[in-house]
Symmetry: C2
Subunit: 328 residues, 2 copies
């Protein structure tokens, strides 16, 4: 396989694009494409202050790297979830993020990183909170989602960022889409997009600049670019529906190269053409400030996030010991 641009040895063959590229041209191609997606979906302009949510995984660190290479003002946000799971998951991912920052600093490019430790700030880790939450019992991902979304928004709001960028890749997006489609969840389908607009109640704009890259492309990017990242999946994600859907889509992709991309892009086109407009309008919820923390919520009074920590506080006040949710 040869590089389409220079004829050198290709390091990656992207069957869905009928495109092989050498290391040098692949490292050029990825930011070019990212810039194209940023413009196509009108994600943000040249002067935007961007907050990149970095988990220590290949996607988010690559995203940060790409945005910096493209010349954007991009700061990082690491959220320490307090997940051990036998692989010291959170500490290890934090270490990867710190290492990414330290390398750039050593090369004369100091970066801004916000690091929030959930347990230190709010009094319990994600697995501990999930263990006592109605929402979370056996479903830590739901609790984790609420907490991460809250903190991302809070940091963006407090520090005046224009937009939050997350590292969701095509495989992530296609898996979510597949799940929502299998169950025809019109409301969720209506909301799935590369850009979630800001809400004047204080909800920051969110964008997914990598949404059209296959997971393997991002893994290749991190590898070729020498970005070290945490290989482990979150230990709580094992056996999850989203991993299962990814496997189904990978099989489809193997049999019909490009199927995953087409599925996602044709969905976006149908969405653009208004297929989910009615569902979108029906789902539109009035947001208002939480009576406790002031962050936007659709809950009548106190937001889900505050109520989660109320429960943790009650447990502690009752002298009960918090234990992390066990892994299935």
């Amino acid at each position: 396989m040869k590089c389409k641009k220079c004829g050198g040895t290709a390091v990656i063959n992207m069957r869905q694009h009928k495109l092989g590229l050498c290391a040098e041209h692949f490292l050029e191609w990825v930011p070019e494409q990212t810039q194209r997606f940023i413009e196509k979906y009108d994600m943000f302009g040249r002067d935007a202050r961007i907050l990149v949510a970095v988990s220590g995984g290949k996607d988010s660190l690559s995203l940060w790297d790409i945005l910096l290479r493209l010349g954007y003002q991009a700061d990082g946000l690491y959220i320490g979830l307090g997940i051990d799971g036998g692989v010291d998951y959170s500490n290890e991912s934090h270490r990867m993020v710190d290492q990414f920052v330290a390398r750039r600093a050593a090369e004369g490019q100091p970066l801004n990183l916000h690091a929030v430790d959930v347990a230190k700030l709010y009094g319990a880790t994600i697995p501990e909170t999930a263990a006592i939450s109605n929402r979370g019992r056996g479903k830590p991902c739901s609790v984790c989602g609420v907490i991460k979304r809250y903190i991302m928004n809070r940091v963006a709001y407090d520090h005046g960022y224009d937009v939050i960028a997350t590292g969701h890749n095509l495989d992530d997006e296609a898996a979510v889409l597949f799940g929502n489609t299998l169950h025809w969840q019109a409301g969720y389908l209506a909301r799935q997009a590369p850009v979630l607009p800001a809400d004047q109640a204080g909800l920051a704009r969110k964008v997914k600049p990598l949404c059209r890259f296959y997971e393997r492309e991002m893994a290749a990017y991190a590898l070729v670019r020498g970005i070290e990242y945490i290989y482990d999946e979150c230990p709580y994600a094992e056996g999850s529906t989203s991993i299962y859907y990814k496997s189904v889509l990978n099989k489809l992709e193997e049999d019909r190269p490009g199927a995953k991309l087409q599925f996602y892009l044709q969905f976006l086109e149908a969405r653009q053409a208004g297929l989910f407009q009615a569902a979108h309008d029906a789902e539109a919820r009035e947001l208002h400030p939480c009576s406790r923390c002031g962050q936007p919520t659709s809950a009548p009074d106190t937001c889900t996030f505050c109520r989660m920590w109320d429960r943790v506080a009650e447990y502690k006040a009752a002298g009960k010991e918090l234990k992390p949710l066990s892994i299935r």
Copy 2:
């Protein structure tokens, strides 16, 4: 596994319904369920004159059998497609239909069967027509669909039937749905339903009473009920997308029993709730009579069906020999 109704030995275990049934109760359950679907989707009333499209396969022969057992006035329509494919496909399926009718006659239940031979009536078989059709080159299923739909409608119209019933089962419907969803074909999604209403331009009402039965349930019904049917798939269908999608959905079903049924039912619910209404309205086409045959068409002047036979006639007039499309 025991029968849920009588405790006898079950002949089938339907995991998605958590239901095992013995032969006797399964043979009761299938028509009961069919009647339930007929009512739920408002397919037809007690006095309707029904034309059942029978192919000689398990689904359509079982459908005819079930409707007769339920006491409906149901006549059959067999369309001879002229497909050999090395397995004498069309002759063999015709034989199965004739045998079904002969058995009922021997039991004192004479049935009406309309048999249309495409080659005799129009001058060429499906594989011959597909071989010279722009639409059909390499895609005989498309030509076959046009011709079958036309003939079904024509016979229903000429003989004054109220409704055409086809044997599409859940696996068929889910596979079509899956394909349309993977490509987000809003127009096709909008049109997929257990009932296609009649159009005053002369399009007969069409219904799919078996749309909620798994293929294996229909195979079991035919087996237990002693209905002989043709086992072969159409030789031209081999390697088709729809067979591929069925295999993907079967894998899903194996991993998550009920997934296929949920996918289809939740789609119908979303459709009922109006998800595809806009796409449906956008796709709505004014039908008018074909200038040649008088049957309803959306084509500006002559319908696709008539134009297909024009092409056959041109070929013959030019002294060219018709050959069946070869099988991939």
